[in-house]
């Protein structure tokens, strides 16, 4: 039995907007055959304001697919089309107080349906191009695509490397045999041309590789480099970097705002039981430099090119 949050159960047992919207002017049909889910999202958009005034859905799918559809319709109602398009699958999952890692794809389907419905409203055609990729690490929800991308981008050679970059295999260890096989297959050329275009665009790849030989997360985020905190925090991190690198880790500044600072820990820092301590140490140094407490937030590693968990 899946461990669903109360919110997921509520939206499953009492789905909102589970209806055919007769006067919809945007319809998106998407499906994921391997997990047996399919969704039709219907939206009614006011052409003058571009505001979504009503939404309805029909879903063939599991409990979390139905709950994600229900949540999505609630989230987009009252928003403009552009605002709605900013909703990520992680937002949908967060709205539901989280989904089990194996079920995150259910929220992806909701987001895809939204994009399809908006394209339909705008009279554009929409082609879903992502390649479904088998889930390898169930503990951290890491799929084959993400592992292959990381092996390719960082020339990873060992299971330990893969764990450091993706977390996969870092908890129960049940998937380490599979990771070994992926590594073996990759270095024998078995993934040529696979999991490249669909997930990480080539130019981002090359840009990142030219920069530091790694795919950098900062390429996925809008960065506020002109914010007064940016240089101060960057300086703190620069000072700490040699120490972290000595232990096989690294830290990257992703973005700053008045009320939070986004950073990412790399390599050995990641999944290390010391990372909590590292983080509180970084926090203390940052607070000192800024003269006030601005909470650090850890950005999870994600290289699937969308800036969202997958």
């Amino acid at each position: 039995m899946w461990n669903y949050s109360d919110k997921v159960k509520d939206h499953f047992f009492h789905p909102r907007n589970a209806k055919v919207l007769e006067d919809a002017n945007g319809v998106g049909d998407v499906g994921s055959i391997s997990c047996g889910d399919a969704l039709r999202l219907m939206i009614k958009v006011d052409p003058k304001t571009n505001i979504i005034t009503d939404a309805g859905f029909q879903t063939f799918g599991c409990g979390s697919a139905i709950a994600s559809s229900s949540a999505l319709t609630e989230m987009i109602k009252g928003k403009t089309v552009d605002e709605a398009l900013k909703i990520t699958n992680k937002d949908i999952a967060d709205y539901l107080d989280g989904l089990p890692p194996q079920k995150m794809h259910c929220s992806v389907m909701g987001r895809e349906a939204l994009h399809a419905a908006v394209a339909n409203y705008r009279g554009e055609s929409w082609e879903e191009s992502h390649e479904e990729s088998p889930l390898i690490c169930k503990c951290f929800g890491v799929d084959e695509a993400k592992i292959v991308q990381n092996i390719r981008a960082n020339s990873l050679k060992t299971v330990e490397d893969v764990t450091n970059y993706t977390k996969a295999g870092g908890a129960c260890g049940g998937c380490r045999e599979k990771i070994e096989k992926i590594l073996d297959k990759f270095w024998k050329g078995g993934y040529e041309g696979r999991y490249v275009e669909d997930f990480v665009s080539r130019d981002r790849f090359e840009k990142a590789q030219a920069k530091n030989g790694k795919v950098s997360l900062s390429d996925h985020y809008v960065q506020h480099r002109d914010h007064p905190y940016w240089d101060k925090v960057e300086k703190v991190l620069d000072e700490m970097r040699p120490g972290l690198e000595q232990d096989g880790g690294n830290v990257e500044l992703i973005d700053v705002a008045d009320d939070k600072i986004l950073i990412r820990l790399y390599g050995a820092c990641l999944g290390c039981f010391m990372s909590e301590m590292t983080l509180s140490y970084v926090q203390a140094q940052v607070d000192k430099a800024l003269g006030k407490h601005v909470p650090l937030e850890l950005v999870e590693p994600d290289l699937n090119g969308t800036g969202e968990a997958n």
Binding site: M1, F12, F13, P15, A18, K19, D29, V30, G31, S32, I33, S34, C35, G36, D37, A38, L39, R40, F57, Q58, T59, F60, G61, C62, G63, S64, A65, I66, Q102, K103, A116, W126, E127, E128, S129, H130, E131, E132, S133, P134, L135, K138
Partner: protein
């Protein structure tokens, strides 16, 4: 909150331990706790009890000798024992024949042998009712085959496979034959001494004994290599201290199961048919999967079209009804049932398959309650399924979603 009723219709997953079995086991935890292999008085009763259980089980399966019964920890261990023994005994033979509807305890081991050790794994085909074609099987048998392994009864559909005939055909060509008998125990006539079945696996927890005890039947004439080596237990064929209380429990459970074979064939079958016909009469667009003419009496697997199984299970669970599904979403692996896939069940139906499996503890009231609840659950879920059309024509032709490419695309027509 009022007390939730429990209707347990998931007996192919596991069964309640019969209170009589528990009673038989208890003295062997605290009173007769000795190691059955020891030389002192405390070994006497455990050793006697193990011998008695072995005898009961040998009778239950129709073994010629008690020593053909080897105790293991579970049927999965027994399955691995059979496969690895067969390939070690026949190192020059590089092929194994099986079916696509086996339990993962067989299929994953064979996948491993195929991928990592270069074995040729031949999976026979099944038709839309899950039946094998014996002509295809006869043609597949050849001198390179180390083992044929075929389940006796299928866990999802209850289908019964012609293992006696298949074993005979294998022996004609000097090929070892193993059967996973987990779902057949207490449901089919079993007289192993009159068959050519060399090895058989089953476990206790499907027949009202506890989890954690299994049997590996090994015909005396069959060559063998142990899976677990170590102590001299089980005549050196399966090392590890005898799990005395569980062995005693399994002996008792087999004795009770043997007494209930007739009840299974008549009363349980009647209840299963009542459940099935009740649902089929009240719910449109559903059908029984597998082979209704040749399946175990306790199992009914119904495909509800245009709805997905996990949703059905969650709603059944709200009513306290326990069943299981071939839907992708109910397994940790997210793969849809390989059994439904092998039978070519369309995915909009395969994902909506629900397995109801009864036991001798199932009552008529349980069945009537389930027949009452299922139709409303299906109607509710269909009311917002994009594939469903209310005019009863079933399915929406206008719904043709855009599917992601890659894995699973072979499902797409």
């Amino acid at each position: 909150m009022s007390e939730k009723r429990t209707v347990y219709l998931d007996n192919n997953a596991t069964t309640m331990v019969d209170p009589e079995v528990v009673k038989a086991m208890l003295p062997y935890f605290t009173e007769y706790y000795g190691n059955a292999s020891s030389m002192h008085d405390l070994a006497i009763e455990p050793a006697r009890a193990v011998a008695e259980a072995r005898h009961k089980i040998a009778e239950y399966v129709g073994a010629e000798y008690d020593s053909e019964i080897i105790f293991t920890s579970c049927a999965t261990e027994s399955d691995s024992t059979a496969i690895y023994s067969a390939i070690e005994c026949n190192p020059e033979k590089r092929e194994i024949i099986t079916t696509p509807v086996e339990h993962p305890a067989i299929l994953r081991v064979l996948d491993h042998l195929e991928e990592d050790r270069g074995y040729k794994i031949t999976k026979l085909h099944v038709d839309s009712k899950g039946r094998l074609d014996l002509d295809e099987y006869k043609k597949a048998l050849n001198s390179n085959v180390a083992l044929v392994t075929c389940m006796w009864a299928n866990n999802e559909t209850g289908n019964i496979y012609p293992v006696t005939e298949m074993a005979h055909l294998a022996h004609e060509q000097g090929i070892m034959f193993h059967s996973d008998g987990v779902q057949a125990m207490g449901k089919v006539d079993m007289d192993l001494k009159s068959t050519d079945i060399d090895m058989l696996s089953f476990s206790g927890h499907k027949l009202h004994a506890p989890k954690g005890i299994g049997v590996f039947y090994l015909k005396r004439s069959c060559r063998f290599r142990p899976f677990l080596r170590g102590g001299h237990q089980e005549s050196g064929r399966r090392a590890g201290t005898e799990n005395v209380p569980y062995i005693v429990g399994l002996g008792k459970a087999c004795e009770l199961s043997g007494q209930h074979v007739g009840y299974m064939r008549s009363e349980i079958k009647r209840l299963r048919d009542r459940l099935e016909q009740g649902i089929l009469a009240k719910v449109p667009d559903c059908f029984v999967t597998g082979d209704p003419d040749n399946r175990s009496a306790n199992t009914s697997n119904i495909a509800f079209q245009f709805v997905e199984g996990e949703g059905i299970l969650l709603k059944l669970n709200e009513y306290g009804i326990c069943a299981s599904s071939g839907s992708a979403c109910t397994s940790g692996s997210l793969d849809p049932s390989h059994v439904m896939k092998a039978m070519g069940i369309p995915f909009t139906a395969a994902h909506g398959t629900i397995r109801f499996s009864l036991s001798r503890f199932t009552t008529e009231a349980d069945i009537d309650y389930t027949v009452e609840k299922v139709p409303e659950i299906i109607a509710e879920l269909r009311s917002f399924s994009p594939y469903w059309r209310k005019d009863g024509s079933g399915g929406s032709e206008s719904f043709d979603p855009n599917y992601g490419q890659g894995k699973g695309a072979e499902f797409k027509k």
